[in-house]
C-alpha cells in the first residue's frame, strides 16, 4: 500500500464559483488526503454547500478545477465521468431517498446500474449495507415509514452501495436530535476506520466537528475563500484570526448583526 496519509484523493485547484456577478469564493485550492475525515465549515452563506456541489461535479466551476483520483469531475467524456461518479458517494441533507422505492430498492439501484450481479447476490449485498448502518430488517420499508435519523442512515447505505473512494456528507446532523446525531457521527467514524473511506463533511455543528474531524477547512463569506485550515482543537485554542476564534467559541461578531444567516 502507498502511504495513505500523503496521496491526495481530491485536488481542488484555483476553484472559483460565481453566480452572475456574485462571486461565492475565489481561486480556492486545497487537497483531501486519502482516508481522512475533512470537515468544511463556516457560517451560513459562506459557500460550504456550493463547494460541496463543485466537489461532486454538480456545478460547473467558473474557473479552476476539481480532480478526484486525478480525473477532472467536469470531464466531457461520459465514460470517464461514469467511473468518477462510481468513486463518489453523497449523503444529501434530507437523505434524498426515492419515496416510491423500498430501502432495499434504493440501495440496490446503483448496484444494478453498475454491475451485472445476479439478484440473490445483490440482495445479500443490500442486507450487508443495511447492516452496516444498523438497519438490518428494514429492507421492505418505504422511506415514509422510518424516522429522520433512519432516513439518513439509509441514504448513507445507498451512498456506500458501490464502496466509493470518497463519501460526501451535506450537513449530516441537520434535523437530528443530539443522540441520533452523535450516533451518526460514530457511524461515520467507524466506517472511516474500518473501510478507510475518505470522508468530506460539510457542517457547522461544533460538537460534531470536534468529535469526527481529522482536519477542517474554514470558509468565510467576506474573504471569499479559506481563512483557516488544520486541526479543529488547535484552531480553537491557538488561532490568531478573530473570525476563527469567534466561530469556535460561539461568539457573534461585534457590531451589527450579520446578514443572511
Amino acid at each position: 500500500m502507498t502511504n495513505p496519509a500523503t496521496t491526495p484523493v481530491i485536488v481542488v485547484d484555483q476553484l472559483t464559483a460565481r453566480f452572475g456577478d456574485n462571486t461565492i469564493f475565489d481561486r480556492v485550492s486545497f487537497q483531501v488526503n486519502r482516508g481522512e475525515i475533512l470537515v468544511i465549515l463556516g457560517g451560513s452563506g459562506c459557500g460550504k454547500s456550493t463547494m460541496l456541489k463543485h466537489l461532486i461535479g454538480l456545478y460547473q466551476p467558473a474557473a479552476g478545477k476539481v480532480l478526484v483520483n486525478g480525473v477532472d469531475v467536469n470531464t466531457d467524456d461520459d465514460r470517464i465521468l461514469r467511473r468518477v461518479r462510481m468513486d463518489l458517494g453523497v449523503l444529501f441533507q434530507s437523505g434524498a431517498l426515492f419515496g416510491s422505492m423500498t430501502l432495499a430498492e434504493n440501495v440496490s439501484l446503483p448496484i444494478q446500474e453498475y454491475t451485472d450481479l445476479d439478484s440473490a447476490t445483490i440482495e445479500l449485498i443490500v442486507r450487508m449495507k443495511l447492516g452496516l448502518v444498523s438497519l438490518a430488517g428494514y429492507e421492505n420499508h418505504l422511506p415514509s415509514e422510518i424516522s429522520g435519523g433512519m432516513k439518513k442512515r439509509a441514504g448513507l447505505a445507498r451512498a456506500m452501495a458501490l464502496d466509493p473512494t470518497v463519501l460526501f456528507f451535506d450537513e449530516p446532523s441537520a434535523g437530528l436530535d443530539p443522540i441520533t446525531s452523535v450516533e451518526l457521527d460514530n457511524l461515520i467514524k467507524s466506517l472511516n476506520a474500518g473501510m478507510g473511506t475518505t470522508m468530506v463533511i460539510v457542517t457547522h455543528e461544533l460538537e460534531s466537528i470536534f468529535n469526527i474531524a481529522h482536519r477542517v477547512i474554514m470558509l468565510d463569506k467576506s474573504a471569499r475563500g479559506i481563512i483557516a485550515e488544520g486541526d479543529p482543537r488547535e484552531l480553537k485554542d491557538h488561532s490568531t484570526d478573530p473570525r476563527v476564534l469567534n466561530f469556535f467559541n460561539r461568539r457573534p461578531a461585534a457590531g451589527p448583526a450579520p446578514q443572511g444567516t
Binding site: 462510481m86 447476490t121 449485498i125 450487508m128 430488517g137 420499508h141
Partner: protein, 383 residues
C-alpha cells in the same frame, strides 16, 4: 493499488495442496464489486474440483478489497463451516480485518420486518376500490362546499380577496393560453368546415357550412375545447403547486398562521379561472369561425360577407350567453378540482404526480358530464 476501478484488473486464485485433503487458495489482485461474480464462480468451481477437507485462504496478495469482496470471503467461510470443513484465513491485512469487522453476519440473515404488503383477494380489493371512490366523491363534495362558502365570503368581502394573485393566475391561465387556444380552435374550425363541406357540396348546400359550424363551435366545441385545454394547462398546474406546498408543509404553515388555505390558495385561482375561461371561450369561438371563413372563401366560392352574414343569422345572443355560462361553470370545476387534488397530496414527489394526473382526468370527466347535463337542461328550457 487503491485506484479502485480499473476494469479488467481482476483477481487470481492459485490453488495448492491435495485434492480431498488440505487445500490452500492463495488469492491475489482485487476482490471487489465489479469482479465479484467472476470471483465467486471461480471459487465455487475450484471447491468442486478440489473437494477439500480443510481449506486455507491466503489473502497476502490481495491488493484491493471492498465490502462486497469481504462479504464474498465471509460467505465462503460460512459456507465451508456449514459443510464442516476446517477453515482458516491467513495473512489478513489490517484493512481486510477492518472491513470484515464492520460486516454484521446477523444482518445478512435477519428477516425483513415487513415481509409482504397486504394485497387482499379480489373481493376485498373491489370493496376497497369502491370505498375509495365513495370517499373521494365525499371529499370532493366537502371541498366544493368549502369553496362555495369561501367564494360567497369573497363576494361579500371583496377586499379580503388577494386580487394580486387573481391577476397573476389570470395571466397564467388566460393570457399565456391564448396562442394554443387560438391555434387549436382555428384548426378545429378548418377541419370541421372542410369535412362538412365535402358532404354538403353534394347537395349544393355550401352555405349551410356556415350555420353548421357556427352552432357547433359556439354551442359545444368552443366551450369544451377551451375547458379541456385549460384543464391540461392550468388545472394540472394548480394541483402541482398546491401539492408541492402540502409536501413542504407550507399549507400547514398557512393554517397555523390563521389563514384559511381554501380562501388563501383556492379562491384566487378559481376567481381567475372564472374570469378568463369565458373570455378564452369567446376567443376560441372567433378563431373557430375564422377557420370556417377560410374554408368558405378558399374552397366553397363564398364571400367572407355572405359567410359571416349566414353565421350571424344562425346564432342568437342567447346561444352565446349560455355558452359563456357553461364555460364559467367549467372554470369552477377545473380550478376547483385542481386545487382539491392538490390539497389531497400526502407524501412526496410521486403523490404530486398522481394528484396532477388525477386533476386533469377528473376535470375532463366533470366537463363532459356537466356539458351533457347542460344539453338536457337547455333542451327542456327550449334554449
Amino acid at each position: 493499488m487503491e485506484n479502485a476501478r480499473v476494469p479488467g484488473h481482476g483477481h487470481t486464485i492459485t490453488v495448492s495442496g491435495d485434492k480431498g485433503k488440505n487445500v490452500t487458495f492463495a488469492i491475489s489482485g482485487r476482490v471487489a464489486l465489479d469482479n465479484l461474480q467472476a470471483f465467486t464462480t471461480e471459487v465455487q468451481a475450484r471447491l468442486r474440483e478440489m473437494i477439500p477437507a480443510a481449506l486455507t485462504v491466503d489473502l497476502a496478495g490481495v491488493e484491493y478489497l471492498d465490502s462486497a469482496g469481504a462479504l464474498a470471503l465471509m460467505e465462503l467461510e460460512s459456507d465451508a463451516r456449514g459443510r464442516s470443513l476446517t477453515f482458516e484465513f491467513v495473512n489478513l491485512t489490517d484493512k481486510a480485518r477492518g472491513i470484515m469487522g464492520l460486516i454484521d453476519p446477523e444482518a445478512l440473515t435477519t428477516e425483513p420486518l415487513i415481509t409482504d404488503r397486504q394485497v387482499g383477494n379480489i373481493l376485498e380489493r373491489l370493496g376497497e376500490a369502491t370505498l375509495k371512490i365513495l370517499n373521494d366523491f365525499k371529499r370532493v363534495v366537502i371541498f366544493l362546499g368549502e369553496l362555495l362558502v369561501a367564494l360567497t365570503h369573497a363576494v361579500f368581502h371583496p377586499r379580503a380577496v388577494r386580487w394580486q394573485d387573481v391577476a397573476f393566475y389570470m395571466k397564467r391561465a388566460g393570457v399565456d393560453g391564448l396562442p394554443i387556444v387560438g391555434l387549436i380552435s382555428l384548426l378545429l374550425g378548418l377541419i370541421l368546415a372542410f369535412m362538412s363541406s365535402l358532404q354538403l357540396k353534394q347537395f349544393g348546400a355550401n352555405i349551410y357550412v356556415a350555420s353548421l359550424l357556427a352552432i357547433a363551435i359556439v354551442k359545444e366545441l368552443g366551450p369544451i375545447m377551451t375547458a379541456i385545454l385549460v384543464a391540461g394547462r392550468s388545472g394540472s398546474a394548480f394541483a402541482a403547486e398546491i401539492g408541492t406546498m402540502m409536501v413542504n408543509e407550507e399549507v400547514d404553515a398557512l393554517t397555523t398562521m390563521g389563514f384559511n388555505p381554501v380562501r388563501f390558495l383556492a379562491v384566487p385561482k378559481v376567481l381567475a379561472a372564472m374570469i378568463v375561461v369565458p373570455l378564452l371561450t369567446l376567443y376560441a369561438d372567433l378563431f373557430g369561425i375564422l377557420g370556417g371563413v377560410i374554408v368558405g372563401v378558399l374552397g366553397l366560392d363564398l364571400t367572407a360577407y355572405t359567410y359571416l352574414k349566414e353565421t350571424q343569422r344562425s346564432l342568437s345572443l342567447l346561444d352565446i350567453i349560455t355558452s359563456l355560462i357553461k364555460s364559467g361553470v367549467f372554470a369552477v370545476l377545473i380550478a376547483g378540482i385542481g386545487c382539491q387534488r392538490g390539497f389531497e397530496v400526502k407524501g412526496g414527489a410521486e403523490a404530486v404526480g398522481a394528484a396532477t394526473t388525477s386533476a386533469v382526468v377528473a376535470a375532463i370527466f366533470l366537463i363532459i358530464v356537466t356539458d351533457s347535463a347542460f344539453a338536457l337542461v337547455f333542451q327542456y328550457l327550449h334554449i
